[in-house]
């Protein structure tokens, strides 16, 4: 007699599409590009192995909640490096995200109540309501900047509550938040080339407000009108990557409506992770014909700020920044959006700045959204690897284009005891514009014309 064990499989909706995983011919070209594969050298921890596991669950050969499957779906950084090199065109992200959603749905009730509450609050409230996020950020800022933080550390309170690692992950809050005001900022130079919708972001506008401000200044400096509507919100990346597709769709709808109402020509984003999610809104609504068209039309207007500036041509009045810069490529810029040349061209255009490439510049640094929390060990290994590659080129600056990378790289550099500044490309441009003095050539040209 044969005993057939029933395996828990995928349930509609949000099932990893067979048409996507069947496209994998298992050539293995993805393996050397996968951060977790190169760290472990284990097939299961690579894209080809993970696709095989998703296929196995789909075909009833593996249980959705088997520990190895759940581990692999969580250990994957969703960095999409595999997707960028895949000659067969396997859209890996469209497998992983639904697979995580399936696991999330099947295991939600198994989580401890406290963890469920924290997750529910973070995703359902904080990332859904920007005013609430600013309120929480203001509390966090008070905690970080008053004596409270020191007290919490020294008293052992954090350790007692088991919140030490979580607390260390919270980024330092900006002194002043970047609050979308709804007003239109006119270009400071010449006739407007385009009206840009400025995506303020969720984490960005409270922890990287200075990058948001620099973005507005650089855009207006380069001939754009900029509008920052109040009714925009989080892009939904955190929710989608955590397997909360429904919430992701809700947040997406809000941004689509906000952009449609704004009348802007282009939707500009300065966080690569947000940009790739915004550009893929179409996939979120595949089963919803009413919204899928609007979502695709919206996505077609989304531009990363580096991509946009490179396309419109930046104002040439850049001052000097002397030093070596190396470029840490955000996965969601290089792999998910396939933007690699524009950021480098922008950096190279700054006088005095020398771009020196590090090894493995497009290998994930281990930040990957909430990966630090879910996979601290692998995140740490990748952070160390990244910092070693950075230190090897001995730069003054690391340029990047995503908040997660900036935090992860800066933390790694601090741990290594190095003094290397981490900057968004837009910040470097902003500083270069601020440092601009009419050059000697320009002034001598003026002198010459006076003489004539």
């Amino acid at each position: 007699m044969e005993f057939v064990e029933t395996k828990l499989g995928f349930q509609e909706p949000d099932v990893p599409p067979e048409s996507v995983f069947n496209q994998c011919v298992r050539c293995g070209l993805c393996l050397p590009t996968c951060p977790t594969y190169v760290e472990t050298l284990v097939e299961t921890s690579g894209p080809r192995g993970r696709i095989a596991l998703i296929k196995a669950v789909s075909e009833g050969r593996l249980d959705l909640t088997s520990p190895g499957f759940m581990h692999q779906m969580s250990e994957c950084l969703d960095c999409r490096a595999c997707e960028a090199v895949c000659p067969s065109g396997v859209a890996y992200g469209r497998l992983l995200e639904p697979a995580r959603t399936q696991i999330e749905r099947a295991t939600a009730e198994r989580r401890p109540l406290f963890a469920r509450l924290v997750r529910g609050f973070a995703l359902g409230m904080l990332f859904s309501n920007m005013a609430l996020m600013r309120f929480a950020a203001a509390l966090l800022r008070f905690y970080q900047r008053s004596g409270l933080r020191r007290f919490a550390h020294e008293s052992g309170l954090l350790r007692g509550l088991n919140l030490e690692s979580l607390e260390a992950l919270a980024p330092a809050m900006s002194r002043r938040f970047f609050v979308p005001s709804g007003e239109l900022r006119r270009t400071t130079h010449g006739v407007s080339k385009a009206t840009a919708f400025m995506h303020a972001g969720c984490v960005m506008h409270v922890a990287f407000a200075e990058v948001d401000e620099a973005t507005v200044r650089v855009l207006t400096r380069c001939g754009c009108d900029v509008v920052t509507p109040r009714d925009q919100g989080c892009c939904g990346a955190i929710a989608v990557h955590a397997g909360e597709m429904e919430l992701g769709r809700k947040l997406a709808k809000r941004n689509i409506e906000s952009f449609e109402r704004s009348g802007a020509d282009v939707y500009v984003v300065n966080a690569a992770g947000c940009g790739s999610t915004l550009k893929e809104y179409g996939h979120l609504f595949e089963a919803d014909t009413a919204w899928s068209e609007r979502a695709s039309a919206f996505s077609a207007k989304v531009r990363d700020v580096t991509e946009f500036l490179d396309a419109i041509g930046i104002a040439p009045e850049l001052g000097r920044i002397d030093g070596v810069v190396t470029y840490q490529e955000p996965c969601h810029l290089a792999h998910a959006q396939r933007i690699t040349a524009a950021p480098r061209r922008l950096l190279a255009s700054i006088p005095g700045l020398i771009l020196r490439e590090m090894d493995e510049s497009s290998l994930c640094c281990g930040s990957a959204g909430i990966y630090n929390v879910t996979q601290p060990e692998m995140a740490g290994r990748l952070q160390e690897r990244k910092v070693a590659n950075i230190v090897a080129v001995d730069p003054a600056f690391v340029a990047t284009a995503n908040p997660g990378c900036a935090l992860q790289v800066a933390a790694g550099i601090r741990k290594a005891g190095r003094a290397i500044e981490v900057k968004h490309i837009v910040e470097l441009l902003d500083e270069a514009y601020a440092a601009y003095k009419p050059t000697s050539r320009a002034s001598s040209a003026r002198a010459a014309s006076t003489l004539a």
Binding site: Q23, C24, C27, G49, L62, P87, S88
Partner: protein, 473 residues
């Protein structure tokens, strides 16, 4: 056949390689069950040793316990060579990934078997040296696997295949004995050539742990040119004429109409869509003027044979894009249908036009799409039969067409496999090619080296029942 290892054996494996390097979870067994063909099987466990001593210890254990062993590097093979049949234990070498030495005077590199081909190429080229074998999988395949399958590549036309570069090997025999054969010298006429025996043995005679490879000085200039044709016959005639002209390009690659379309859908490289075929030429050398002159001569020959367009890549970037596109052909074909059967026939150069004609005729007769691409300059073609394995009726035609392609290659004085090996994919056809006497000799060698039959069972040699490799799950 065993379906799982005794806990005692798993314990011993953990002692040998360290507990984290012995995998028995069902997820791991799924992930180590395939290569780049469509075959899948499930190993009983996976062990990832880090040293030759550990490999030898695994072999001794396998011999004592009569466990089948399948050496595996990156699992990127195209013949099913590393698919673990009959409850095998996978012995995976990716942790053995160190380049041990690059000796510039003797012009050799010593590597462990898990070193990726491209990593070796980068390392030697940074010192002005050159390792020519360049299988299309060079970014993901490892040298150990390259040797085991005797991999080729585009540059083999001028430079030869992997086996031509192996000057020494460290091999672990099935019973765990470590054999070192050869050395850093380039000539060696002492005894049987064991290096040649193990190159292409597909892991059926032992595990390769360390390889010494001959290197060349890197040619200072490499140029790429492309020629497009309205008729594929003109392309193959051009290949023959170029080779008869006394020139020796590094590569002459052929891509037919359907291949061109798949490549351009994957990553546009500027191939002329609508052509019946294109040829991609690489010419290298130390004198720029001579390289350019040879390329011009090739372009003239192509034009004289009806090329509708000839174009020299203007920059290194354009050239790199064309070769990346060429290397991506095999997986890019998967954009068309769920599955493909990639063949690897090799015929004498004089017969290449006839081989292409016969493939097209077979495709038409069986109503199948069979794009053809490959290393036309050395007679090695990759007809890929596009198919859907779920369609039983179609698979009957696919099987018949595959057999006819093999028969055609052999009839033209060619062989079943130029560079992928026999593995599972072609084992039922091997006798057709080598004949019973040679096959008998191969079997006697196998039995002498591996009397227990534990090394990579079910590969190369046909199944006694005559079952077809297509019947596998």
């Amino acid at each position: 056949m065993i379906v799982s290892l005794a806990p005692r054996v798993v314990g011993e494996l953990r002692e040998i390689a360290g507990a984290p390097h012995v995998l028995t979870a069902v997820e791991d067994l799924i992930a180590y069950g395939y290569d780049a063909t469509w075959y899948e099987a499930r190993p009983v466990a996976v062990v990832l040793p880090a040293t030759t001593a550990e490999v030898a210890a695994v072999h001794r254990l396998a011999t004592r316990e009569r466990i089948a062993l399948v050496p595996r590097a990156m699992g990127s093979g195209l013949s099913g060579g590393s698919v673990p049949l009959e409850g095998s234990l996978i012995l995976a070498v990716p942790r053995m990934n160190r380049i041990l030495e690059i000796d510039e005077v003797n012009r050799v590199a010593i590597v462990q078997s898990g070193v990726i081909n491209a990593a070796l190429q980068d390392a030697v080229e940074s010192r002005g040296l050159f390792y020519p074998p360049d299988p299309s999988s060079l970014r993901q395949s490892a040298i150990g696997g390259n040797v085991a399958e005797n991999a080729g590549g585009a540059r083999c036309l001028k430079y030869g295949v992997t086996a031509d570069y192996v000057v020494a090997l460290e091999i672990v025999l099935p019973d765990g004995t470590i054999v070192r054969t050869g050395g850093k010298m380039l000539k060696n006429a002492t005894g049987y050539d064991l290096r040649a025996l193990y190159a292409g043995a597909e892991g059926t005679l032992g595990t390769i742990t360390e390889i010494t490879l001959r290197l060349l000085p890197k040619p200072r200039f490499t140029r790429t040119a492309l020629a497009a044709f309205a008729r594929i016959d003109d392309a193959t005639a051009t290949v023959r004429a170029v080779m008869a002209s006394g020139l020796l390009p590094a590569s002459i690659e052929l891509m037919d109409r359907l291949t061109i379309r798949c490549v351009e859908e994957n990553a546009p490289a500027g191939l002329p869509l609508g052509s019946d075929a294109v040829l991609l030429f690489a010419v290298d050398g130390n004198y720029e003027a001579i390289v350019d002159e040879e390329l011009a001569t090739i372009a003239e020959i192509a034009s004289a044979h009806g090329a509708t367009e000839t174009r020299v890549a203007a920059s290194a970037a354009e050239s790199a894009r064309l070769w990346e596109a060429r290397r991506a052909v095999s997986p890019a074909l998967a954009r068309r249908t769920p599955n493909k059967l990639g063949e690897d026939v090799c015929v004498p150069l004089s017969e290449i036009g006839e081989m292409v004609r016969r493939i097209r005729e077979i495709a038409q007769r069986y109503d199948l799409q069979i794009p053809v691409f490959g290393h036309a300059g050395d007679g090695n073609l990759h007809p890929n039969i596009l198919c859907d394995r779920r369609n039983r009726e179609e698979m009957v035609r696919v099987r018949a067409a595959a057999r006819e392609i093999f028969e055609a290659a052999v009839a033209l004085g060619g062989t079943l496999s130029g560079e992928h090996g026999i593995g599972l994919l072609k084992k039922q056809f091997i006798e057709l090619d080598v004949g019973s006497a040679a096959l008998g000799l191969m079997r006697r060698i196998k039995d002498a080296v591996d009397p227990l039959g534990i090394m990579n069972p079910g590969k190369i040699f046909p199944d006694p029942g005559g079952a077809d490799a297509f019947d596998l799950p």
